[in-house]
Subunit: 174 residues, 2 copies
């Protein structure tokens, strides 16, 4: 599977790095998509760095089979940009796997893609989602059809396990 990882400044280090490494080890390809190709990003703990490989302007959702949204400050930075919101929305519209952890579901909220699926998120975002009418539960991982969501770094193992399971079930589209 070819996975797009949408990433902006101040992503949560482990929520990017651990799933990223696990998805690669399982044989999937991942491309870091962000606001500006070549931009150097740093995690909010300063422990992990990443380079944006493709900009939203150049990336085409149809070239990817799945979407991974790490948490931290990254999702709120990204959702201020229309091209990031449209990119995320395209995966939900197409029913492709979307794997979002912590603040990741902020992008689903802004993209108006939060009412069709049961989900979880970081606790403050759970509140925002509930107030907007989403079906939110507070558990380490929630799988609802194409959407896998988790709350926080301590959920990463469960998030990776369910994400890999989903990625194995869904056939690559290209």
């Amino acid at each position: 599977m070819r996975i797009a990882c949408v990433l902006g400044p101040k992503f949560e280090d482990s929520e990017f790095k651990q799933p990223y490494d696990s998805f690669k080890q399982a044989g999937h390809e991942i491309m870091v998509v962000g606001l500006e190709a070549g931009a150097q990003l740093e995690g909010d703990k300063g422990a992990v760095k990443a380079t944006v490989e493709q900009s939203f302007k150049d990336a085409r959702p149809e070239d990817f089979d799945a979407l991974f949204i790490p948490g931290g400050g990254s999702p709120d930075k990204l959702r201020a940009h229309e091209e990031a919101v449209k990119f995320v929305k395209a995966f939900m519209t197409a029913g492709k796997p979307v794997l979002a952890i912590c603040h990741g579901p902020q992008l689903l909220l802004t993209a108006d893609e939060f009412k069709s699926h049961k989900m979880t998120a970081w606790k403050t975002i759970q509140g925002d989602l509930k107030k907007a009418g989403a079906n939110v539960v507070d558990q380490e991982v929630v799988v609802d059809r194409n959407l896998v969501t988790s709350r926080q770094p301590s959920d990463i193992a469960a998030f990776i396990k369910e994400s890999l399971k989903l990625l194995e079930q869904v056939p690559a589209r290209r």
Copy 2:
């Protein structure tokens, strides 16, 4: 007037510092209230530092005449803690001046104090507020009775002006 400024990690430097200085220069007292008394906080640009003077556990809303909520990463960190949300809610319930900029209204959203007043906020938070049913407008400053809100650092001058005007109109309660 005695103002409580609620502050957490990664506040937006100028959104804290400029109103803080202006309120003091106008003769108001300000106390920085946060999660842990004595904690050293740094702005997300690294340009401004602040020390928490009183914890939410020890601070009593009835000892203050007004509330100031700077933006940046601070409001989302604070609203993960019930005592911060309760502290903020008390000012809205009492109808005391509440001055919130950028991500500041995230605390009003979590405190369920967003439906009674017209408001603005940082653009991504405008979206969250609208989806939750708030009356949101996109302008540099919005004054609705006891609530003053602004969007971003470029609105600071207007935010300070309207905040000071409100603080002068409302009599100190002690």
